[in-house]
């Protein structure tokens, strides 16, 4: 039988077997595996479907049959996390792609130092109970962010302060890395929820009074009685809309069911958000778990804040009395 050049997979297999025997003296390994490629190649050529076995198991069988001891248990004992890490890094740096990745990570490492400071800032904002996305907004929060970023960078730059220091650093990195996930989720949620408001057919930021969003509008007639279904437009003919059309409220006294403000259907089939007061519609978690209006459910009127307001005085040429509706309204409640 003619032996041709060894297939790459066999050369590779033999290399792995030798690697698995590397705890033995080099000349023993050489003796033990001398002619291995030829033997393997011949067996392989005889049965093409044959699969090469696990190189480590093969090496084990080889060394046992040859009467060599199994590798020292020291080499097989469970590695400590630090050793596992070192081992992984050395394996990675062993091949071109792996070492390219390591080089890249080494370069962007300071980015993580900065991110770490921002993550802690985000969490402090969440823990402080402030509403909105956990990103710095005002001067105080930005100052905090800068301080934490500087602290984070300085902490990593101060190297080799003993094992305790290194362990604390590894622990802090792990905790921070894990804390990134909910933080990013929160930021995404905070930004997406406003997009959804826009996507629901709502035209814009809507009415604001003293910096607070107007949730509903109540109209009273000249006699001071509440009226329903008033359509409101601004000076440019744009529908007046409130800022939070999904403002939720209780549907009943016990608040067992909640509802949200809903739009009104117009005669032309369109739906309008500028028909006031907005009515409530039942609001339940849908099959995906997010709350949404129950389609076709009856809508309910929202009680006006004031049952009656003062009637409007008839127009008179001499009437120049200044108007102050909120105060008058509260006095008459």
């Amino acid at each position: 039988m003619t032996t041709t050049t060894v297939p790459a997979q066999i050369a590779d297999f033999a290399r792995r077997v030798r690697a698995a025997l590397s705890d033995l003296p080099a000349e023993e390994v050489e003796e033990l595996t001398d002619g291995l490629e030829a033997d393997l190649a011949e067996g392989f050529a005889e049965d093409l479907r044959r699969e090469l076995p696990d190189p480590a198991a093969y090496a084990d069988e080889l060394r046992t049959a040859a009467g060599f001891p199994r590798p020292e248990p020291v080499a097989r004992r469970r590695m400590s996390p630090g050793e596992t890490w070192t081992d992984l890094v050395s394996r990675l740096s062993g091949n071109p792609a792996g070492s390219a990745v390591l080089d890249f990570l080494e370069t962007v490492r300071p980015v993580w130092w900065v991110a770490r400071g921002l993550v802690v800032t985000g969490w402090l904002i969440i823990l402080s109970g402030r509403n909105g996305a956990p990103v710095p907004r005002d001067v105080g929060e930005w100052t905090l962010a800068v301080l934490l970023v500087v602290a984070s960078v300085q902490w990593s730059r101060a190297r080799s302060r003993g094992t305790w220091w290194r362990r604390a650093l590894v622990g802090a990195n792990l905790v921070t890395a894990l804390a990134v996930v909910p933080l990013v989720g929160e930021i995404a949620y905070q930004s997406v929820s406003w997009d959804e408001v826009d996507a629901s057919g709502y035209a814009g930021p809507g009415l604001v009074l003293d910096g607070e969003p107007v949730t509903n509008v109540f109209a009273y007639d000249a006699q001071g009685n509440p009226i329903r279904d008033v359509q409101l437009y601004d000076a440019l003919g744009r529908p007046l809309v409130v800022e939070a059309p999904q403002y939720a409220d209780c549907l009943d006294e016990a608040c067992t069911e909640s509802g949200a403000l809903t739009s009104r259907a117009l005669e032309n089939g369109q739906s309008a958000w500028n028909v006031f007061p907005l009515r409530l519609i039942e609001w339940r978690p849908d099959e995906y778990g997010s709350e949404s209006p129950v389609v076709g459910a009856p809508t309910r009127e929202v009680d006006p804040p004031l049952l009656k307001v003062p009637a409007v005085a008839p127009l008179a040429p001499a009437s120049v009395e200044p108007m102050n509706p909120p105060e008058v309204a509260q006095n008459n409640r």
Partner: protein, 108 residues
């Protein structure tokens, strides 16, 4: 009990017997053992055994270069090997006789 376990104890004997007939390289020895009916024999076990018998001085070894591929390592018999084989044959013969007696219930 399976044949693989039994084989471990007598692999030296089987390998020596095969090489005694004719010099052979690793896979050649494996093939001859399998052809003789030892289908379960592991290649690495045979190669390791050859290597151990050689180290113990029971086999000679020589390399045959190949023009097109890797060289082959042949193993051959020497006097010490023949002596070992003879001694092991005797042990095996005694052992099988004893086992026969045990299994058939006859007195030894």
């Amino acid at each position: 009990m399976d044949a693989t376990q039994l084989l471990k104890g007598v692999l030296d004997l089987a390998v020596l017997a095969v090489v005694e007939k004719e010099d052979g390289y690793g896979y050649d020895v494996v093939r001859r053992l399998r052809a003789a009916g030892l289908g379960e024999v592991g290649e690495a076990s045979v190669y390791g055994t050859l290597r151990r018998l050689y180290s113990a001085g029971a086999l000679t070894s020589y390399v045959v270069p190949s023009e097109e591929g890797p060289h082959r390592k042949y193993y051959g018999m020497n006097d010490q090997g023949r002596a070992t084989l003879a001694a092991q044959r005797k042990v095996w013969a005694d052992f099988t006789t004893t086992m026969e007696h045990v299994l058939t219930g006859e007195a030894a």
